[in-house]
């Protein structure tokens, strides 16, 4: 009995290993044998996408209807994706890794390109696009889509960091919109002293990806970066300056102590409650701060982010947003590609610009830009260091260590040293 149990176990082990090893010989080029031509027969493709908020509710039908006016033979079915980024990634990974040909196209975060390309979860797209295709888009977006010499998504919509401010409070005290962080600290101090607000400036300091986005911007302000030339640059004097500044915001009471627990909605809430005069947030914030019932509607201004005094590069904004990825197992490559290209086309991008607060990936070809678009076009976009397949680990090294600093659980040099070590491990593929 005992021996037979052991042999069952042995057989199971061998079977599992054999199954895993069997994958060695197989296809390597997902494009091989597939036509990129737009089909003439009726075809249905599945589009894995989250709800895209528009001025009248949902942007997705607008995009699909406009696409179908051009390609009536292609039907687009929406597959609702999980709202949470990580849950979404896990679900997509399970489905595509299992070899499923559905969804044909999916909305994915712009930081996923290298990881998904490396893990064969996304179709390489350089070959199927004409030369010069990316000229219409910001260089930071192209670099986000790149991994090695391949490209893994087509532009969908972008996002970037902004500064929201209470224009009523600034006007009342004869203050101007801060051009530098030093000025923002002084202005905040005056508004706190005058009893207008409890603290000055809210941003995203919780232990999550949003903090890495904020840190990327402050590093650029100070002339630094998380990764430079393939290794961690997070221990540089510029990094020290940026992180010490973030830490000082909390210790000096300019940012609420709770900022170490703030994700987007928490920082937004603090601003809408009138607790703070300034807010760093993404593109949706200006529209929703001015919505009816926001408490500060009509009293909010929008500008690019300030920079550090005396630093040459100002108005930095971390690039965010989503791209359209293709499933490497799709059986409808032509139709999927046509749809992805339509979303990135001027016509598709115009739908984002006119019908929603989502920023089109190609700015500048709208006749009457919204305030958000106009301010957005003045910023310098900074890409997160997502061109490594180990980006999630790099980012985790950043946000966990910086969060510990903001929460007062760890000193700045100590945390940066720790982060540098973890980032270099991650970049070498040796992290955990």
């Amino acid at each position: 009995m005992a021996s037979s149990r052991r042999s069952v176990l042995r057989a199971g082990l061998a079977g599992a290993a054999g199954l895993a090893l069997a994958g060695c010989a197989g296809q390597t080029d997902p494009l091989a044998g597939k036509s990129t031509a737009v089909p003439t027969q009726p075809t249905t493709i599945n589009w894995w996408v989250s709800r895209l908020p528009s001025h009248d509710g949902d942007l997705r039908p607008h995009l699909i209807n406009a696409f179908r006016r051009r390609y009536p033979q292609i039907d687009v079915q929406i597959v609702r994706s999980p709202q949470d980024t990580n849950a979404n990634r896990a679900a997509l990974t399970a489905q595509i890794l299992g070899g499923s040909s559905s969804p044909d196209v999916y909305e994915g975060d712009i930081t996923w390109a290298a990881q998904f390309g490396h893990a064969s979860l996304a179709m390489p797209l350089r070959e199927v696009l004409p030369a010069g295709y990316w000229d219409a888009f910001p260089p930071a977006l192209r670099s986000a889509a790149s991994y090695g010499d391949e490209l893994y998504f087509l532009p969908m919509y972008t996002d970037q960091g902004f500064l929201l401010y209470r224009k009523d409070l600034l006007a009342k005290h004869g203050l101007r919109v801060p051009g530098t962080w030093e000025e923002l600290v002084r202005t905040s101090g005056r508004l706190i002293e005058a009893g207008e607000v409890r603290s000055g400036f809210a941003w995203q300091g919780a232990s999550y990806e949003g903090l890495t986005a904020d840190v990327t911007e402050f590093l650029a302000d100070a002339g630094g970066a998380i990764v430079a030339d393939g290794s961690a640059a997070f221990g540089s004097p510029a990094s020290l300056r940026a992180i010490e500044f973030l830490h000082s915001l909390v210790t000096r009471g300019i940012s609420p102590a709770a900022v170490s627990t703030y994700q987007e909605q928490d920082s937004m809430q603090a601003f809408l409650n009138g607790d703070v005069a300034f807010l760093r947030n993404w593109a949706y914030a200006y529209g929703s701060a001015n919505e009816e019932g926001s408490g500060v509607a009509g009293r909010v201004g929008l500008s690019t982010r300030p920079g550090f005094d005396g630093m040459p590069q100002q108005a930095n904004a971390t690039l965010g947003g989503a791209g359209t990825y293709l499933n490497p197992h799709t059986r409808n490559l032509g139709a999927a590609l046509a749809f992805a290209r339509f979303i990135a086309s001027p016509e598709g991008q115009r739908i984002f610009a006119t019908k929603s607060d989502l920023l089109p990936a190609a700015l500048g070809d709208t006749d009457t830009p919204s305030r958000t678009l106009e301010v957005a076009s003045r910023a310098t976009l900074i890409a997160r260091p997502s061109s490594t397949p180990y980006y999630p680990q790099v980012s985790k090294a950043v946000y966990t260590n910086v969060n510990a600093v903001i929460a007062g659980a760890r000193g700045v040099p100590d945390a940066l040293g720790n982060a540098v070590e973890q980032i270099d491990d991650a970049l070498a593929g040796a992290g955990i």
């Binding site: 082990l13 895993a20 997902p30 890794l97 627990t261 929460a407 955990i432």
Partner: protein
């Protein structure tokens, strides 16, 4: 003669038994044993994700090496163990107290038990979300309450000690009723005459509890502890909802770290190593625990 006939018969019966259970055994093999074995294999492999799914490059011990080298893993291990020991101990104490009270209740017992079971029956993600409202740094009622005693309202999720305590409170609130109900069942099984003779012998209530109730409850407590340790060691939902592991990584449990490494980093080998080692630790802890308690159970001659 009769011996061999009996042997044939029992073999025949066994064969029929195996035949009848074969479908369910196959199912268990497919949905339980195979994934476990597969995940153990992955934990010893250098895995690449390819167009054909998982591809094992080579068999290696590196995943475990990286895991043991990782300060983050070591912290997660200590945190999960410490958290399990403390919360289970508190739940056990509170659960026994609640059960002792429940036992003395008359007609109201059914209603109180139903009320008590509400936290237990709630999905942890939902109750975690409710607790996050209580702990919210701006409008949370707990923040307001503690703010009455301090100059500035505390940021409950902003420091490791308070974040861990807050999480433990949510956990204890949810699972104490479970312990209470199990212990209550044990209490009701203790024969009344033992208490009566204790009373005649002049034992006080304190003495009665420690000399009669507690020893006779041991088998029941063993079961309660076993269930709770298994569950507490797999701590995931609460940090996921309340802190996402922060501040820093101070509330990151082993299960959460495994999830992040597997599904955020897509780092399959090390992720499988974390999952496998976590399962092994729980298994060994439970085996050791039941060993100790089986002896106890035998001595009390119950169960």
């Amino acid at each position: 003669m009769s011996n061999t006939r009996q042997g044939t018969l029992s073999r025949k019966l066994a064969r029929t038994g195996w035949l009848y259970t074969a479908p369910s055994l196959l199912l268990i093999l497919a949905i339980t044993i195979f994934p476990i074995v597969f995940s153990v294999v992955l934990s010893f492999s250098e895995v690449r994700l390819t167009l054909n799914g998982f591809q094992v490059q080579e068999l290696t011990l590196r995943n475990y090496g990286a895991m043991f080298d990782s300060a983050e893993w070591l912290y997660a291990l200590l945190f999960t163990t410490g958290y399990t020991v403390v919360t289970v101990a508190l739940e056990l104490t509170l659960g026994i107290l609640a059960a002792l009270i429940l036992e003395r209740l008359g007609a109201a017992r059914g209603w109180i038990m139903a009320l008590l079971l509400i936290p237990w029956s709630m999905i942890t993600v939902v109750s975690g979300q409710l607790w996050s409202f209580i702990y919210d740094s701006t409008y949370g009622v707990a923040t307001w309450f503690f703010g009455l005693f301090t100059d500035t309202p505390p940021v409950i999720m902003g420091s490791p000690v308070s974040a861990i305590s807050a999480m433990a409170a949510a956990d204890i609130w949810k699972t104490t009723p479970f312990v209470a109900i199990i212990v209550l069942a044990g209490l009701m099984m203790i024969p009344k005459d033992v208490y009566e003779s204790a009373e005649i012998d002049g034992a006080g209530s304190w003495k009665t509890f420690w000399s009669i109730t507690f020893p006779m409850l041991r088998p029941t407590l063993a079961i309660a502890v076993l269930f709770r340790v298994l569950q507490a060691f797999g701590l995931f939902d609460l940090p996921f909802v309340l802190t996402s592991g922060g501040p820093g990584t101070s509330t990151q449990s082993l299960a959460m770290m495994g999830y992040t490494v597997l599904f955020q980093d897509l780092n399959i080998g090390p992720g499988a190593a974390i999952a496998t080692s976590t399962a092994l630790i729980v298994l060994l802890a439970c085996l050791a625990f039941t060993r100790v308690f089986r002896y106890q159970v035998g001595k009390e001659d119950i169960g």
